[in-house]
């Protein structure tokens, strides 16, 4: 790297180089996260058919690995999404230490196949805030527009000044537009653009209003 900075002392440079070469995290942990990402992304409204196939492969592989490897502690529930092929959401329920005192679970957008509803570890914030946004994202992707708007409304009530307001507004505007409430969607979009003039969400909002 050619830059005007003075060189690092040799021992500091070696220590940073050692840090850069740390062993990768356990493959099992990565596979679990990969399945969650696949499920969340698959729920996106912009899901492409080729990607749906990829997601099915990922989730099937992870579930099979869990079954064979005995990596228990996972709650697996089947989700039937109208817009996409049925897929599986794998939610870890035995993460290392809970990050905050547990509270009541945020209602899931669909009923689980298992007879007993497991408690999802959530917290007043920011975990609950993230859960609400994810709930809205998944509901919107499935075409559950009322569910998406409910989650956005709940987020607005509990996290008026939250860290994910930008995401919430984007989701709400897209849900309103998909519901055909164009005047409300446009009015909310105008407020969004005024509040977040450089938002990365601007394009998807504008695209939703064109449909």
């Amino acid at each position: 790297m050619n830059d005007p900075l003075p060189s690092l002392p040799k021992d500091i440079a070696e220590a940073l180089a050692l840090e850069a070469k740390r062993s990768p995290p356990p493959q099992a942990a990565l596979a679990q996260v990969q399945a969650r990402i696949a499920a969340s992304v698959a729920a996106s409204a912009s899901l492409a058919p080729a990607f749906a196939t990829s997601v099915a492969k990922v989730t099937a592989a992870v579930v099979a690995a869990l079954a064979v490897g005995g990596a228990g502690g996972f709650w697996v529930r089947t989700v039937s999404a109208p817009a996409v092929a049925p897929h599986i959401i794998v939610l870890p329920v035995t993460l290392p230490a809970p990050v905050a005192p547990p509270v009541e679970a945020v209602p899931a957008p669909v009923a689980p196949a298992a007879p007993r509803e497991p408690r999802v570890v959530a917290a007043p914030s920011p975990q609950l805030e993230r859960l609400l946004i994810e709930r809205a994202t998944v509901a919107l992707a499935r075409g559950d527009l009322a569910g998406a708007l409910d989650a956005c409304r709940e987020h607005e009530q509990k996290f008026a000044q939250g860290m994910l307001v930008e995401e919430r507004e984007s989701l709400a505007i897209r849900a309103l537009a998909a519901e055909g409430q164009m005047s409300r969607a446009r009015a909310r979009a105008d407020r969004f653009h005024a509040r977040f003039p450089n938002s990365m969400q601007a394009q998807v909002i504008d695209d939703a209003l064109k449909k």
Binding site: D3, E19, A20, R22, V33, R36, S40, V41, F51
Partner: protein
């Protein structure tokens, strides 16, 4: 804009790297799965902003920095890290111990930095991003990034030496 297949390949290939990077940015071990998930969900939502002629990692790094700092996913009393340093099988137990101690000092010295310094030092001196990539990822002017890096290096070295003397 990143396409669906490319995105699938991205999170398959880059998840391990992202995990390590988020940890270097201060996300505690027990929050890493959620943080990794969130970075890629945000990346997917914002895929329209990705330029295919640019490298992927700096873009992901920018998202990771914002999430690690703005969502306050880091907490006091983070768990001890369990991943070991990379050493060849020919290394002695003594060398392994020294390497582990060095990495512990690196972690503590990083923890001593504020977010701005930490992000630029991790991005430039550990991840190896070129400054133009880093300034784009962090949305800061080049001079600002250099200034932060100079201060970050001084603060890191001071903290690293402090850990050395207290060890």
């Amino acid at each position: 804009m990143i396409q669906a297949d490319a995105f699938h390949a991205a999170y398959s290939n880059e998840l391990g790297w992202l995990w390590s990077t988020l940890r270097r940015l201060g996300v505690p071990a027990n929050a890493l799965p959620d943080a990794c998930h969130d970075v890629f969900v945000v990346a997917w939502e914002r895929r329209a902003t990705f330029r295919p002629d640019h490298p992927l990692r700096p873009w992901l790094f920018g998202i990771a920095c914002r999430l690690a700092a703005n969502r306050r996913v880091r907490m006091a009393g983070s768990e001890a890290l369990t991943d070991a340093p990379v050493l060849s099988h020919h290394e002695s137990p003594e060398a392994l111990l020294v390497a582990k101690q060095t990495l512990d000092r690196v972690t503590k010295a990083l923890d001593a930095l504020d977010d701005e310094k930490r992000q630029v030092l991790v991005g430039h001196d550990i991840e190896g991003f070129a400054m133009p990539e880093l300034t784009q990822a962090l949305a800061v002017p080049l001079n600002t990034a250099y200034s932060r890096l100079r201060h970050a290096r001084v603060a890191f070295e001071r903290a690293f030496r402090s850990e050395e003397s207290s060890a």
